[in-house]
């Protein structure tokens, strides 16, 4: 009966669908306020409100307002955006591969993007190959190219005749993760101290690096997939039936796959460029939502985005409190939770061959 829990699937009515999204949104808002309040210097809710909207709540001290506005607010905004983007990209990728175990981290998209980012930092600074390109665009473009290359490689090599061989997909992801990890290690070995210190950042992810400037540049890149992916929900539903079946239902499958890869890689690459590799969000969150409301992408995609934002905000609180006053890289925390979760999924799939 253990396997059956995977298929516990109540069909929510239209009302409860809206309710689910509203509940998730309210919880996310509450978590964001909590995250703004807790830290080495606790700030009460009233002063948090007062810092964000002058005139409301309790008037904060100057240093409290600065802490909320300049230190905590950007990282919470980052947690919300990246959590939403990664979780929704994971859900879409599982639809694209037609397998619930596909995840941008596991199949190597995140580490491909991170490797390209590190390479851009190391070579972009020492050799001026990109002098025709404004320096601030080099890193995002390289990150996108690295992620895209990994995604295309895995999709091409692991699927034939519209069927994804899951074993090949996961092994390819393993290989790409190993190559990218070795590449990042090698580059940090030959690079100077500054690049060396960023190794931990790229490998384990952190929400503490990006400030308002970076976030403002990256926000459209994260919002684009967040807005456009849900518009492909019904096509993704059809794709779950099979590529041929989706084609017979009037879906332009090749175009859909190209669009999905572009949007997924955009979301993942922008996240990696801002916060390094934060793994398992794209695997765990859609899985929880599917257990709750089933696999319909019309609900799965928006609900995953909200739950991803909620969970990453909570993870951020955890990463700041667990080793206070120092900070645990958030990627370590998500891997600590997500890794065992993934093993649990695999164990359950052993008793339920249908999903693999």
């Amino acid at each position: 009966m253990l396997g059956m829990t995977l298929f516990c699937n109540p069909m929510p009515s239209l009302v409860s669908r809206a309710q689910l999204l509203i509940i998730l949104a309210l919880l996310t808002l509450a978590a964001a306020l909590l995250a703004l309040s807790v830290g080495p210097v606790p700030i009460i809710f009233g002063k948090v409100i007062g810092s964000l909207i002058p005139g409301l709540g309790t008037p904060p001290e100057a240093f409290e307002a600065a802490t909320v506005q300049q230190i905590r607010a950007p990282r919470i905004a980052l947690a919300l955006l990246i959590g939403a983007a990664l979780a929704q990209a994971g859900a879409a990728m599982q639809g694209l591969f037609r397998n619930p175990l596909a995840d941008p981290g596991l199949v190597g998209v995140s580490s491909g993007a991170a490797f390209a980012a590190v390479a851009a930092i190391v070579f972009g600074n020492s050799i001026q190959v990109f002098d025709w390109l404004p320096a601030r665009y080099v890193l995002p473009l390289a990150t996108f190219a690295g992620g895209w290359l990994a995604a295309i490689t895995v999709l091409r090599l692991s699927s034939s005749e519209g069927y994804t061989r899951i074993g090949v997909m996961l092994l390819l992801g393993l290989a790409i993760n190993a190559i990218a990890g070795a590449g990042i290690g090698f580059l940090s070995h030959i690079a100077d101290d500054i690049a060396l210190r960023s190794l931990t950042f790229w490998m384990f992810g952190s929400l503490g690096k990006a400030g308002w400037n970076e976030i403002l540049i990256a926000t459209p890149l994260l919002l684009l997939p967040l807005i456009l992916l849900p518009r492909r929900a019904q096509a993704l539903n059809a794709l779950l039936l099979g590529e041929a079946e989706a084609g017979h239902l009037g879906v332009n499958v090749e175009k859909l796959k190209r669009e999905l890869i572009f949007l997924i890689v955009l979301a993942v690459a922008a996240s990696v460029a801002l916060a390094g590799i934060i793994g398992f969000v794209g695997l765990v969150v859609p899985h929880l939502i599917r257990l709750w409301v089933g696999p319909d992408h019309r609900l799965l995609l928006p609900a995953s985005a909200l739950l991803g934002a909620l969970l990453l905000t909570l993870a951020d609180i955890g990463s700041r409190l667990l080793l206070a006053p120092t900070e645990l890289p958030i990627g370590i925390l998500t891997a600590l939770v997500g890794g065992p979760f993934f093993i649990g999924l695999l164990l359950r799939n052993k008793t339920n061959a249908g999903v693999l």
């Binding site: 397998n99 099979g242 009037g250």
Partner: protein
Amino acid sequence: MSLTGEKLGFSVSDRTLLENVSLELQPGRVHAVLGPNGAGKSTLLRLLSGEHSIQNGAVRMNSRDLAAWNARERAQQRAVLPQGESLRFAFTAQQVVALGRLPCVQHGLQRETKIVKEALATAGVTHLAERVYPTLSGGERARVQFARVLVQIWEPVALGERFLLLDEPTASLDLAHQHSLLTTARRFAAGGVGVLAILHDPNLALGYADDVTLLKDGRLLAQGAATETLTTENLSALYGVEVRCLLSEGTAWLAVRPPGRQR
């Protein structure tokens, strides 16, 4: 107005799967395709549905080149039930059937739900509506998929006649459900749909089809009205086994004597 394949040929890396086969699927008729394994039946169906792109010959649907219709227009006029299925996600049976309405002009929730429920009943799977698809048996899944293709061409469309292409629809069904599925196919034909079905049982073809195409080694062996084409000579030549015709209460039955077995 029909779905026609003209002089179709198809080969994959020097292996010819289909050669010079023509077929006209007319609205209101059931057309069965029979042949041994690997005869090119599924290839023919994939060419007619547009899943394979044309190499030789032409496919026309409702007087227009198949490629001239866009993907959605195509899907509004013809539904395809492929062989086998691979859905691994926990949709309910009813959700799977509702996906068949994707290309259709939507009527609003109440009417759409009614169509899905009627199709579930037609395919005999009303009791499975809330069950989770991957937990169903092979035959139950096949019937849910059948309901899904039915809702896709449930109502007449202004674009042209409707067609239903079924690749071995009876393969995983028990005896009673084989007949009930083909009875439904006949009913849709009576409503103006052109139905093409790949079948393995000549008696089912004899009982339900108006026209028959016999394929062997990618070529046409015989084609025409079912009663005139499904002869013992043709079937013996098609399968390489001795086929006899028995008469029982005025109905013809085609039977195979097991080779090397005497009574």
